[in-house]
Amino acid sequence: MPAGVFKETYEGDMAFIRYPIHKAALVLAVIAGLSAPLLLDTYYLNLAITALIFWVAVIGLNITVGLAGQISLAQAALMGVGAYTVAFAALKLGVNVVLALPLAGITAMIIGLVLSLPSFKLKEYYLAMASLAAQLLLEYAFSRIDPDQYTPIPPEAKRLASIDLNEPEALYYFTFIVAALMALAAGNIARSSYGRAMKAVRDNDVAASIVGVNVPLTKAIAFGIGGFYAGIAGGLYAIYSVGIGWEAFTLVNSIELLGMVLIGGPGRVVWGSLLGVLVLRTGWTLLESNLVPILAAMGFSAFASAIKYIVLGTLITVVIILEPEGLIAVLRRVKEYFRLWPYSY
């Protein structure tokens, strides 16, 4: 706690915004977020929208994996469930995408709850295998309902009153608000009693049950929330896309999402997830657009397509070895350094 800040109530001590710097950061983030469409061109705006969408998905996975310690390799498939829910609700039923979005969350949440069933008995690798099976099953289901790998989202379903989500600016603001609300809710869950229960299950589930945590229920909640977030993210992805294909929701995407959690900071639900997305998704896209042409020009075009996974794998390995708590821990150390500055202790 910085010097000169005193709290007289527990409520104040446990609030989200405790110190002046929190307030300043919040104001800056809101200003930056809201002014982004004015400053960025369409390419970067789309990049920002994807980052926000993946932020939501990674927050969900971070709750399942980072907070509750239940490995899931099916997050991309759950995103797919949300995306197809929105797509088919818009296409077949003519439901507006904004109204279909909560439905997407709920559908994916139900699937997530089903995925939690193996976690009652299985742990770690075995649980990973169970979620892998779920991922592959869902992929197969997608390939049956969407054999052409293309389900268009009708543009007229993206209009609600005077808001037209076909325009990037409107879509950006919509995504920003949804993502911000989801992040706030995730932060609240993490600091609530449920958050503590999930952490206990992650650290030692037998001990958690001894101290009075209903372990199966907590695991189910963690998977359910993870699914809900994935569904919302998938729904947003469908709104963002002209049309969706199931190749966006494959195992590789699931592993990428898991990589974002591990690199950003498992258990650091809000900001760790954002950092993971910025590094692995946005950072990578920016790098790729510069790197691949250079590699291709050097005659490594075969290498260029594989480089993504080489870099991804190396990065995850290095981060896990050097910083198991994720890159957010580096930021925390920097913060600590400046808090103590000019002393080192």
Partner: protein
């Protein structure tokens, strides 16, 4: 003079209910003179007078549990009475921790029942037993090493948490109020055990003595009727042990909580416990006053090996 080796049963029919219950043979009640002598001569424990006379709060009958070929519990029956501090001792592998695990619901016994306040809790999941009032501390104090002290203590109030996950996500009025109440209760215990300075430190970064104290604090915040303590003094220095013992005694005197203490250190047990149950190879081999335990032949054989 102590009047008996076996706790005199107040319910003289107990042996009729379970004939295998060899260590609970009916025993004549001490005369008033004897009881008085007991009280006069032994001032070390305020609760001595309760011994063998209080109503039973937690009891188990004929517990059997085995892992593969190993018999962890072989017909164990115990009675814990209200307000007692019972030491549960025995050599390694005697089944002490298994017994605690059966009582707190981690293992389900193959045979036998566990009762708490007259209610059969044998098949009840662990988190519901906590709600009834059975708390437990761990052999390794740092079970949730990543949590701060405050989190580890507030976590224990989760069974009483009302309000859905949606309320928690929206941080509504009820969720906020609950959180503040939980914090108040946690702070009260932190004050009681003088853990203020460690409040925001991760449990894993604390010295073992403090970890054990945090664990005790965390159990106390549940306001239990019975605390099962699994080796609260294992691996501690003498000073840390004294600190924990002081905390245990303080809690007893202020709250009158019933306690079951698994411990290796016979000295500690005979100093603070009202009664000691000695286990060996999954059986109860002695049940009575600590000072008689060290003279009991079966106990000596079990400890020294015969």
């Amino acid at each position: 003079m102590y009047y008996t080796l076996n706790p005199p049963a107040t319910n003289f029919n107990e042996h009729l209910i379970n004939p295998n219950w060899v260590h609970l043979v009916p025993h004549p009640q001490p005369s008033m003179e004897e009881a008085k002598v007991d009280m006069v001569w032994d001032k070390s424990s305020l609760y001595k007078r309760v011994w063998g006379m209080g109503e039973r709060i937690l009891w188990a009958e004929g517990l059997h549990l085995s892992f593969g070929g190993v018999r962890a519990l072989d017909g164990v029956s115990i009675v814990i009475r209200k307000g007692e501090l019972v030491g549960l001792i025995g050599p390694n592998g005697a089944g002490k921790t298994s017994l605690l695990n059966v009582i707190s619901g981690i293992y389900r016994p193959e045979r036998g029942r566990v009762y708490f306040k007259g209610k059969d809790i044998t098949g009840m999941p662990p988190h519901e037993r906590v709600k009834l009032g059975i708390a437990r501390t761990f052999q390794h104090g740092e079970m949730f090493h990543g949590m701060t002290v405050l989190e580890a203590i507030m976590l224990r109030l989760h069974p009483w948490h009302r309000g859905s996950i949606i309320e928690a996500a929206l941080w509504g009025f009820r969720a906020k109020r609950w959180e503040v109440e939980a914090r108040e209760r946690a702070e009260h215990i932190i004050d009681l055990l003088e853990l203020q300075e460690y409040r925001h430190r991760p449990v894993g970064s604390l010295p073992p003595g403090i970890q054990k104290k945090v664990d005790l604090a965390a159990a106390l915040v549940q306001d239990p009727e019975v605390i099962l303590m699994d080796e609260p003094m294992a691996g501690l220095s003498r000073e840390e042990k004294e600190d924990i013992i002081r905390a245990i005694i303080e809690v007893r005197e202020t709250r009158g909580t019933t306690m079951v203490l698994v411990e290796h250190d016979l000295e500690v047990v005979s100093d603070i416990c009202d009664r000691v149950i000695v286990m060996d190879r999954g059986r109860v081999i002695f049940d009575g006053h600590p000072e008689d335990a060290v003279r009991d032949e079966a106990v000596i054989t079990a400890y020294i090996g015969g």
